[in-house]
């Protein structure tokens, strides 16, 4: 094996070797019983013949010992200098390494994300049940999308973050706005039928649905947070309620399938508007978090347009207790807002010659009659306890809907409510409720097995989305195992038993799902 020395070390080694040679010579001379008196230094002897100057008298020439001492001192000085230089180089290297991340207030841009691959298959007790047609009958691979985060920290108190989910479907649009045509003041005909291109997407293994816009924006907000207890968030954000909605990413949540209070969106999952939030340490172990939300509220196109002037408000409170072995949190969220849907119409008044009828007060006009409007009031509760490896969580959501403009009840609902076929009735005010509980126990397999974390879990879920349509009620039971072989990978295997209340609507079924979620 060859030992390599840096240049400065090689120089140092050379000097030591030179000093050692001199030292050996010195010892050789010293060991001679009667050494000849040195008339001149060795070097002087070497140069003497070529020098016309007479040799220095021996009395003023340094002795070998003196020269050796001088050289040794020189060596020592160089060694010290080398040490100083090495220390300087090390310090500069540290500064260089820290230059990109020195905790300063310069803007920082970071990106990260996650995605998953899921394989699932459902098994129906009655394969011809009505809802079987809308759920996957065949084993299928699918992905919930790729969530990409980008965050910019402009200053210590100002930041902006965007979380997008990359998807593949087209953008929705209001199309074919009806044209009511009047001739000579008399109604002639209506051209077109108002339609909203259907871009509502429902994941194959759940009822969770949302509009696909190609790139689905989960959240995009700017935050100014000068103090722990006060921050302002502007933009689109995840509604600050519960546990699942906060966790929301497949690498973080314990199970595969979302709870039904998320699937059926008893609470708006996202909101567009502003949020004031903060936290306060009440004691060293107890933290109070709060949020006040003001937004467009729920609506058919609430991401970019509110169809009424009624803004939704919400209030979140959460207490978090943390100690060495115990973690507990208890939270609640209250929300009230108005949902309004409208259609857009143009009115065109023409003369008998099909010119613009200027005798009308407003020959060209538009209107946006309400097609559906209701006020919803929602309350949620959530609790989580973690003690060593044990984790137990539960959430409840209660929703009350009061219509001011009720839509027609869908044919399926009317039929199952014993309304004669073909009879149109309007939907009634209703209450919905959903809750779930989930418990798991995390086992660390230890260093010898790569610190793999294994969490078996069980859970139960109840849904009653609309008490006027009890046939939609259902219970779900699940068990599974969550395996984290590395901080970046989460594998899950889950079996779920779905028990609907109305067998004519949906069959009992088993759903088996395997998922690998990746953080990057």
């Amino acid at each position: 094996m060859t030992t390599r020395f840096p240049a400065c070390q090689r120089q140092f080694v050379g000097l030591i070797a030179f000093a050692a040679v001199l030292s050996v010579n010195h010892h050789l001379f010293a060991q001679t019983e009667n050494p000849p008196p040195p008339t001149a230094p060795v070097s002087d002897v070497a140069v003497a013949p070529s020098s016309p100057t007479p040799a220095e008298p021996a009395a003023v020439s340094p002795t070998i010992e003196e020269r050796l001492k001088a050289l040794e001192q020189k060596d020592a000085g160089k060694a010290t200098r080398i040490e100083e230089l090495e220390s300087t180089v090390a310090a500069l290297n540290e500064q260089l390494a820290a230059a990109d991340n020195d905790g300063s207030e310069d803007r920082k841009l970071s990106a990260w994300g996650f995605f998953d691959l899921t394989l699932g298959k459902s098994f129906y007790d009655n394969s011809r049940a009505l809802y079987a047609s809308g759920t996957p009958r065949y084993a299928s691979f699918m992905s919930n999308g790729i969530n990409v985060y980008v965050k910019s920290e402009m200053t210590k108190t100002l930041s902006a973050m965007v979380e997008t989910r990359l998807t593949y479907t087209p953008v929705g649009l209001d199309t074919d706005i009806p044209r009511m045509v009047y001739v000579d003041g008399k109604y002639l005909q209506t051209d077109g039928t108002f339609a909203r291109e259907q871009t509502l997407y429902r994941t194959p293994y759940s009822y969770f649905s949302y509009h696909q816009h190609g790139v689905f924006i989960e959240r995009a907000h700017v935050d100014w947070k000068p103090k722990d207890w006060f921050g302002i968030r502007l933009g689109r954000y995840l509604t600050p309620f519960g546990i699942w909605n906060e966790d929301h990413g497949s690498p973080v949540v314990l199970g595969v399938d979302m709870p039904n209070l998320i699937n059926f969106a008893l609470v708006p999952i996202h909101q567009m508007g502003l949020q004031i939030y903060g936290n306060r340490l009440l004691t060293d172990n107890l933290n109070l978090e709060y949020a006040v939300t003001l937004s467009n509220g729920r609506g058919p196109i609430d991401e970019y347009k509110d169809l009424d002037n009624d803004k939704a408000i919400g209030l979140r409170g959460k207490l978090v207790y943390t100690s060495d072995d115990l973690f507990m949190r208890l939270g609640g969220y209250a929300y009230t807002g108005r949902y309004t849907d409208r259609r857009e119409e143009y009115y065109i008044y023409l003369t008998p010659n099909f010119g613009l009828d200027r005798s009308q007060p407003v020959p060209l006009s538009s209107a946006s009659p309400t097609t559906e409007s209701y006020r919803e009031t929602i309350g949620t509760l959530d609790a989580l306890v973690q003690f060593k490896g044990l984790k137990v969580m539960a959430e409840l959501a209660h929703r009350r809907v009061i219509y001011s403009t009720a839509p027609l009840m869908n044919a399926q609902g009317a039929l199952l409510n014993n309304v004669p076929y073909g009879t149109h009735i309007h939907a009634a005010n209703y209450t919905g409720i959903a809750y779930y509980a989930l418990a798991g126990y995390e086992v660390d397999l230890g260093e010898s097995l790569g610190n793999v974390k294994v969490t078996p879990y069980v859970g139960a879920d109840h849904l009653s989305p609309d008490q006027t349509m009890p046939f939609l009620d259902m219970n779900q039971y699940r068990f599974g195992i969550n395996i984290k072989p590395s901080p970046y990978i989460t594998n899950k295997l889950e079996a779920m038993r779905l028990v609907p209340k109305a067998p004519e609507m949906a069959s009992k079924m088993w759903l088996l799902v395997a998922q690998t979620a990746v953080s990057f």
Partner: protein, 151 residues
């Protein structure tokens, strides 16, 4: 040498001033800038700062924590003593936090001496260093035998 004598010699060596000084100099201390009015921090307060639960010292002043790389032994000892977490646990914690809320881990500096220099020049900074590197800094907590103790 008889076993008793060997034990006695070992004990004397272990208790010698040189050994004690060496153990003290390799002790991990949590430090803040000299100008910081904070005098001590307990485990819960440090945990809250290093887990991103608060960005303030108990006196309400802004706290800017800095970390060492995950593979640094000083960081690993600090994580165990203050956060009850292994290196992997910390990674998981911050991956989860980023997915949940976008919150990021404290910035990392390359070495203990870089942390010492950063804390020395930044009034609201907090970090942890070896005692031998804490010259000119205010010690607010110490890690002894894997446990956090007062300054």
């Amino acid at each position: 040498m008889q076993p008793t004598k060997s034990l006695l010699v070992a004990l004397l060596i272990a208790l010698s001033p040189v050994t004690i000084a060496s153990a003290e100099s390799s002790e991990i201390v949590v430090v803040v800038n000299k100008a910081n009015s904070v005098t001590s921090l307990n485990k819960a307060q440090l945990s809250a700062i290093y887990k991103g639960k608060t960005t303030e010292f108990p006196n309400g002043n802004s706290a800017s924590a800095v970390n060492l790389p995950a593979e640094n032994p000083t960081r690993q000892e600090f994580d165990k003593a203050v956060l009850n977490m292994s290196s992997d646990d910390c990674k998981r914690y911050w991956i989860d936090m980023k997915i949940r809320s976008g919150a990021g881990a404290p910035p990392k500096l390359a070495s203990v001496s870089a942390v010492a220099r950063h804390v020395a020049k930044t009034p609201n900074a907090i970090g942890y260093v070896l005692l031998s590197d804490a010259t000119g800094l205010k010690v607010v907590a110490r890690i002894r035998a894997g446990a956090l103790v007062g300054p």
